[in-house]
Symmetry: C2
Subunit: 408 residues, 2 copies
């Protein structure tokens, strides 16, 4: 990471309403049985927008509508999100429903249709209960209290067990700027977007194409580096909205404080990504794999993802078993350039493998590290000078239980 | 498949000793606590040989030694196999041990060293207990009774719960020919070879390069189409040995009965592959995905593998949940050419999805099919005319239990 001269500060209770210009709401519309299932973020001006979408070739109706909206002028003033129903594989009816949601938001909040994004997450293949959604959109009351943020954060969850929110502040051009985000996602989480929704708000001034580039770069090193079960959803997206209210000079890679902005965006997205991995379905442990000595960053990330994605590594971590053989095997089949004789593996700070051969270590010490709810696996490939990270979680009885009975 | 004029018959108790010229042994050497853990196949002549190996960049010592042996003249007269210890990631000591196993077989059975293959499966990273292995090799007593075959079949297993063996006979050039195989593997099973060992014997006359081509083609449609957990082992191999005792004219693709041979090889390998998938760690159900209407066979297999490899599809089958949304999602992220609007999905013979949209079906009828120990998922992509299959198993509590405590 670049050295950051300005001090970047993590906010207490940072949330999507922390940056200037944003309000939210979150309510129970009746799609889910009890918990909040409909949320909205609204900016007081059309905000500069950027988005990353699922790489799945089957994409849900809301993805189509959101792409269309952003396509018009790269701006968004609102995003409406529901949970409990993904509005995926619902054909033309599904598209009409996604447009109807957008249209209702436009009328209720006097916002142009093409300034509105739609996000949905939940069961695939069931029609949206529009009789519940439409009246509920009309009843959304915007606010920017911590309570409002919590209500929104909850409204986007499915099998998640905790709200996921984070935010940072710093100074750019002598102005205080803020960036914050909310996310959901705990299953169908794979390296290239997942049933994962993330919404990032900021008050910096920035152009849409610059924001898009920044978001792509950071997503590749954060959200695209987590995996829960290797499945890639039809509904994923990461949306970023920038109100411009901070009053800084428009940010570009040439701006002297560009690295401050990028670091804030990176930290926000990494926080959310790690929260998603930690809250993986049935998970008890967040696993971080850091790979160094790779030929390039892409390959380092490839190896790191291969490790945190291995069912055998995941079950070994669940069993607190220092099974470095499975880690080596996952490195071997990652497809990255390796030398089979130069690999070092650490759990926490304890070396298990040096030059691809086991070394003597204190089993009890390693067991203690594996029992923790955060397990760090560090690998040095010794074939280059680049590094990268990925995050995942352990594979437990509860993952099976949750997914064997999700719909029933 | 080509129309096969000759009748190919499945043998009762077909095993690696069914083809003329082969004997086996299987004993307990002490690497494992109780069960057989050391086996050998010996041919009475140097047999034409072919092999497919793991695609993992980290390969165990026995793989290296076997490649070297076959490399000399494409012939093998014996393969020595142990279970309980994979002799992987064991450095130079591991290589010396694999060579020592080969050397001991050469001395005991008066066979040239380069006519001997070595296979190992089990824990990674532990030194081979050579004090147990070497004297045990000396004590191996060859035989060709069903009991001997059973003893061998058992000696190659790790977490497998059943022996895996199959064989076929037919007539080529008026001569009776046989082909049979034994296999092991229930975890670390991924699309491109796995901790999977398979040994195919036959008495046909065939050249090594022709056998190699046949084995590659069949492996790609059988062993490489199964997945248990997506992990690819360091030790996989499929070995084929042909004694030539059947007395047929040397087989080539131009031989009038080539398709008979290929069909026999295919059925043998498919039987073994399906046994491996069905015996996947903790599995209760064999899942077969058949994909039709693909652009080409490679893409059909890609989609089929994506379906049987999805943790979410696997848990849904375990839960007898007709969750076709997860099947659609897996089709979508497979990377194959699809049209998001033309996909049909069936469970057994019941249509769940037509043109990518859910259709009404009898939930009870589908539930009954999903409760079975064999679940067939059929997909028609409607973008081409080619088809392919893949096999996997459900993901259960027992998979987690087995792998959270494998070493401890």
């Amino acid at each position: 990471m670049t050295v950051i001269k300005n001090k970047i500060k993590k906010m207490n209770d940072g949330s999507v309403v922390s940056p200037a210009g944003f309000q939210v709401a979150g309510i129970h519309s009746g799609v889910k049985r009890k918990r909040n299932d409909l949320g909205i973020i609204v900016c007081d001006v059309p905000a500069t927008a950027a988005a990353m979408y699922t790489t799945n070739n089957i994409q849900a109706a809301p993805i189509k509508v959101t792409k269309e909206s952003i396509g018009v002028e790269g701006k968004l003033q609102a995003v409406i999100v529901n949970s409990g129903n993904a509005n995926a594989c619902t054909g033309e009816k599904g598209e009409r429903d996604a447009y109807a949601m957008r249209n209702e938001v436009a009328k209720t909040f006097s916002i142009k249709e093409h300034h509105i994004a739609v996000g949905s997450t939940g069961v695939i293949g069931e029609e949206m209960p529009m009789d519940k959604i439409i009246p509920s959109i009309k009843s959304l009351k915007l606010g920017k209290d911590p309570n409002d943020a919590e209500a929104f954060n909850q409204s986007i969850l499915t099998t998640d067990t905790v709200n996921k929110s984070s935010g940072y502040e710093a100074t750019i051009d002598g102005k205080q700027v803020r960036i914050a985000g909310a996310a959901k996602g705990s299953g169908m989480i794979a390296p290239n977007m997942a049933t994962m929704l993330a919404f990032v708000t900021t008050d910096v001034a920035i152009d849409s194409d610059v924001l898009q580039q920044a978001l792509r770069q950071v997503t590749d090193q954060t959200f695209n580096c987590i995996t829960v079960d290797g499945d890639t959803s039809t509904n994923d997206m990461v949306l970023a909205m920038a109100s411009g209210h901070a009053g800084n000079e428009r940010l570009t890679p040439q701006h002297k404080d560009w690295s401050v902005f990028m670091e804030m965006l990176h930290r926000t997205c990494e926080d959310l990504a790690k929260m998603i991995a930690r809250d993986g379905e049935g998970a008890t442990t967040l696993i971080e794999a850091e790979v160094n000595g790779a030929k390039n960053r892409r390959e380092a990330i490839k190896v790191a993802k291969s490790i945190v994605g291995s069912s055998l590594v995941k079950t070994a971590v669940f069993g607190a078993d220092a099974n470095w053989g499975r880690i080596l095997a996952a490195i071997g089949y990652s497809g990255a350039t390796i030398d089979p004789n130069t690999i070092d593996i650490f759990i926490g700070d304890v070396a298990l493998v040096k030059e691809s051969k086991p070394v003597t270590y204190d089993e009890k010490e390693v067991f203690e590290r594996l029992r923790n709810d955060f397990v760090k696996i560090t690998v040095d490939l010794h074939v280059g000078a680049e590094g990268g990270k990925a995050w995942g979680c352990d594979l437990t009885y509860d993952y099976v239980q949750i997914n064997a009975s999700y719909r029933t």
